[in-house]
């Protein structure tokens, strides 16, 4: 007699709990479709696409690059923007180009106020600084941080 009763109890509790949690789970997934989530994702995509395009305008294929600057956040932003395709130099002193980010430059031609800047040394020893081009995203400051 005990086995059928406990069986019914265990099966009932398990299925009801699974059903309840499934309803919660479905709502959690639906949150991803909210307008603000879509907007934030679009801004994030546009920002990093802009950073990547500007870097492409500054680096020729095969050129060895080092990521300059002392701001860890900027280095991470560069890795996210163009880390997958850039040819990193090791040691850094062997790089043809040093890429850095200049933040807070509001105005056209920037990625929400950020621009990619390339520093190279010309054959005659002069330092040449160029600013990335080819893309811009309006607004100011980094895109909304996605969930960690």
């Amino acid at each position: 007699m005990l086995v059928p009763v406990v069986s019914a109890l265990v099966a009932g509790i398990a299925l009801v709990a699974l059903g309840g949690q499934a309803v919660r789970g479905a709502r959690t997934v639906d949150v991803q479709l909210a307008p603000h989530a879509v907007h934030d994702a679009a801004v994030d995509d546009a920002f990093y696409a802009c950073i990547g395009t500007q870097a492409h305008s500054l680096v020729r294929p095969g050129q060895a690059v080092t990521l300059g600057g002392t701001d860890l956040a900027d280095v991470v932003t560069m890795i996210k923007g163009f880390g997958s395709w850039v040819t990193v130099a090791d040691p850094p002193s062997g790089a043809d180009v040093t890429l850095t980010l200049h933040d807070g430059t509001a105005g056209p031609g920037t990625c929400r106020g950020t621009t990619v800047v390339a520093t190279t040394r010309s054959p005659d020893g002069r330092t040449v600084v160029r600013v990335g081009s080819g893309a811009q995203v309006s607004g100011q400051g980094p895109p909304p941080a996605p969930p960690l």
Binding site: V3, V10, L18, R27, T28, V29, L33, A41, V76
Partner: protein, 499 residues
């Protein structure tokens, strides 16, 4: 080419690489379908590791490994035709309801998985995904010399680039064959692989229902319960793993693969097909992330222990050798990447563990930080205790593995993650805030799978046992050839509580 088409092409490439080995080892079962791309992802991971070890292009190694796998299958069929697909397929007769339930369960799980991926409509690329998981594929397409630089250069700062390669290698294969190198394609590839692991783990519950149905008079009750529980578990898992299920993170993949490995390797009746499924899922978990690696090593040991059982320990040579050889091969495959990272002095390959000055404080913080995500244990534990005390006879009769195996698997995964947090050198507060949700996915999901399996077992307790005629009608011929019940006498030997 659109991202959708490119994703399909990438998944088909992985599936083609994994299809024959999966069919040869798992057999023509419904759960072989999601396992094929996952086996292809394992091939991509091995290709990336081989490429880094020996040089050569990733795609060349990927194709080579796929051809090698297919060749091994054909060689096996020639040398040992008795192990071939026909012999491995269960010849089920007289139970059309079982075949219909298998197909219906597969369709329900696929639809539930597809619906659970609706978060992909939002084109989110997660922070870690953009910084690592779908950035690193580009490195795997670089030259060998440049790949070494990418992994070693100190000014690239991110230490996580030494993480196991399965996700990035799979995305690299898709990038290479489609020519589309976008983070978005990376995210969709990872999401579909997540769905494959989720489908495999859910189909294990459908399979549990089918196994139980053999042993009871009213077969449709456990069959329907298995399908319903599987569908609900898919939705539960999607909710637990979002937003990471659809934003390119590695945590859902290793967690879901580990849950599937436990289901096939420790919860279902042990047979060659389920053991093969467990091997594939263990490799996926261990090659996806460091936490998955630690958990996978524990699962390899547990599955081997279950296969060996008391009979193996008492000296039954055939019960001892095969599981141990298989376990050693799995561990070797899993260890290849981390050993290589040490050997090349990759950034982040050195240990981050330190003898913390304040273990008590860190332990307290970890317990409080992880607890909110593990509320399922408050349900699963008493349910398992009640079931274990009253329904263990039913569980043994329907040949579902002893529940203690699943709890051991859950516990080892949880302890591994908690130990890393307690003994790590990072500031514990921010670490927990940024990772607690993700690193508890495996134990939380395992808790829900334990609940789901108990639901299937419990309905068997409501039904009268099947007569001998009903049982005989299901599987005819040599049990070993049918791939079922080969070693059921030792299923629970190690724990022994059921016997």
């Amino acid at each position: 080419m659109s991202t959708v088409v490119a994703t399909l092409a990438g998944i088909c490439a992985l599936g083609a690489a994994g299809l024959l080995p999966v069919l040869a080892t798992v057999g023509p079962r419904w759960y072989a379908v999601p396992l094929a791309p996952l086996a292809g992802a394992v091939a991509a991971s091995l290709a990336a590791t081989a490429s880094l070890t020996f040089g050569g292009a990733l795609l060349d190694w990927f194709i080579g490994i796929a051809v090698l796998g297919a060749g091994a299958v054909f060689a096996l069929l020639v040398v040992r035709p008795d192990l071939g697909l026909r012999a491995d397929a269960p010849r089920r007769t007289g139970r059309a309801v079982d075949r219909v339930a298998g197909a219906a369960g597969f369709l329900v799980v696929v639809v539930a998985c597809a619906w659970s991926l609706r978060g992909l409509q939002t084109p989110t690329v997660g922070f870690d995904a953009r910084a690592l998981w779908v950035m690193r594929p580009g490195w795997f397409l670089h030259s060998h010399a440049q790949l070494l630089v990418d992994l070693r250069a100190r000014d690239l700062v991110l230490t996580q680039s030494a993480y196991p390669p399965l996700l990035s290698a799979s995305v690299a294969v898709a990038w290479k064959i489609t020519g589309i190198h976008t983070a978005r394609l990376g995210v969709t590839m990872v999401a579909v692989l997540d769905a494959c692991a989720l489908a495999a783990a859910a189909l294990a519950v459908v399979q549990a229902g089918r196994t139980v149905a053999v042993r009871v008079a009213r077969a449709w009750v456990p069959l329907l319960t298995g399908i319903a529980a599987a569908a609900l578990l898919v939705v539960v898992a999607a909710g637990s793993t979002e937003p990471f299920l659809t934003n390119g993170y590695a945590d859902p993949l290793w967690s879901l693969a580990a849950v599937g490995a436990v289901a096939f390797g420790l919860q279902l009746r042990s047979d060659p097909s389920t053991r093969a499924a467990a091997v594939i899922l263990v490799l996926v978990a261990g090659m996806s992330k460091n936490e998955g690696f630690v958990t996978a090593v524990a699962l390899v040991v547990l599955v081997a222990a279950r296969s060996v059982g008391v009979a193996g320990l008492r000296g039954a040579r055939d019960r001892l050798v095969t599981p141990l050889v298989l376990a050693v091969c799995e561990l070797a495959a899993l260890a290849w990447w981390p050993v290589l990272m040490k050997a090349i002095h990759a950034r982040g390959a050195s240990s981050t563990f330190s003898a913390s000055q304040d273990l008590a404080h860190r332990t307290d913080a970890v317990v409080h930080g992880l607890s909110p995500y593990l509320h399922v244990l408050v349900l699963a534990l008493p349910l398992a205790v009640l079931g274990g005390l009253v329904l263990r006879g039913v569980r043994r009769r329907v040949e579902v593995g002893n529940d203690l195996w699943a709890w051991l698997a859950l516990g080892t995964g949880l302890v591994a993650v908690a130990s890393a947090l307690v003994t790590g050198s990072g500031a514990i507060g921010p670490w927990l805030l940024s990772t607690a949700h993700r690193i508890t996915e495996y134990p939380a999901l395992e808790g829900w799978w334990i609940v789901g399996i108990w639901a299937v077992v419990a309905v068997a307790g409501l039904a009268a046992p099947a007569g001998p005629a009903a049982h005989d009608a299901v599987t005819v011929g040599d049990p070993a050839a049918a791939g079922v019940g080969v070693d059921t006498p030792a299923v629970d030997d190690l724990v022994g509580a059921d016997r």
